[in-house]
Symmetry: C2
């Protein structure tokens, strides 16, 4: 497994190969973060109110799936070093388990496909699968993204 | 087109039909919001820094795709009135155009499929397609979500 730091050499499409993996740092989620995100973007009782959350499908306070996705993005951005940045054109996301106050989240990203563009010789699409885990190594999110990645220019 | 307000009757799976549409209110995006979200969740130059953003794929400051998705979620939550709330199990998202400071975003959601669960008689999966538009009626995001929706209990 390869871990990239933001200081390492920038990776172009030509440096990426199927099966290559990147492990992120971790993020500790807490109640305050969950409620603050929910207030701005997903104001529903199971994300905002501990008591009301008990009698919902979540059986207690849980983060918005979009919050989990956003934390995943932060973890990927701060631990992978792709030339031009992490730019997604499209994504598929699923949330097999909720994330909770006190969870420590981390992400492992694997390269699934590397496809140079036919029409634009300076770039291509790299498909990656990013699995977000909690501190019990349970899968809380699976994200498959199509990233726009520049080709080596030299 | 039907517009639901948070005060209207809660819709169960049995009240939803393919082709039914829900139009949201609107959200005015600004530079401060874009940079604040990016700082927390997507710290890349094209989301953080007007000057650095000019020489990137985005040709100027743009919101994180996850920010657009999160604003979309807020607009859906505050304008659709599904029993049990808006709970997504999985989603596919694409971003045909970036969102920018000064954009006014709004969402139209259409019911694509209504599927009672075989194993759980109290619920089912409703597939919806939510298209996010800017003030020029350009499509900035397409989101297809699978929502867990309770059945009518009476």
């Amino acid at each position: 497994m390869e871990t990239q730091s933001p200081n390492s050499v920038k990776l172009t499409l030509d440096d990426l190969t199927v099966g290559q993996k990147f492990k992120s740092g971790s993020h500790l989620l807490d109640e305050m973060q969950i409620k603050a995100f929910a207030k701005d973007f997903d104001p529903q009782p199971f994300h905002l109110d501990d008591v009301a959350a008990v009698n919902t499908l979540f059986n207690g306070l849980a983060a918005s799936g979009w919050h989990t996705a956003s934390i995943t993005m932060k973890l990927i951005v701060t631990s992978t070093n792709i030339a031009g940045g992490i730019i997604g054109a499209a994504a598929e996301v699923s949330w097999p388990k909720p994330t909770r106050p006190g969870d420590t989240l981390w992400v492992e990203t694997e390269v699934m496909e590397v496809k140079p563009s036919q029409s634009r010789t300076d770039r291509g699409i790299v498909t990656v699968r990013s699995v977000t885990y909690n501190q019990h190594d349970e899968v809380v999110q699976i994200l498959i993204s199509k990233l726009v990645v520049p080709r080596r220019s030299d």
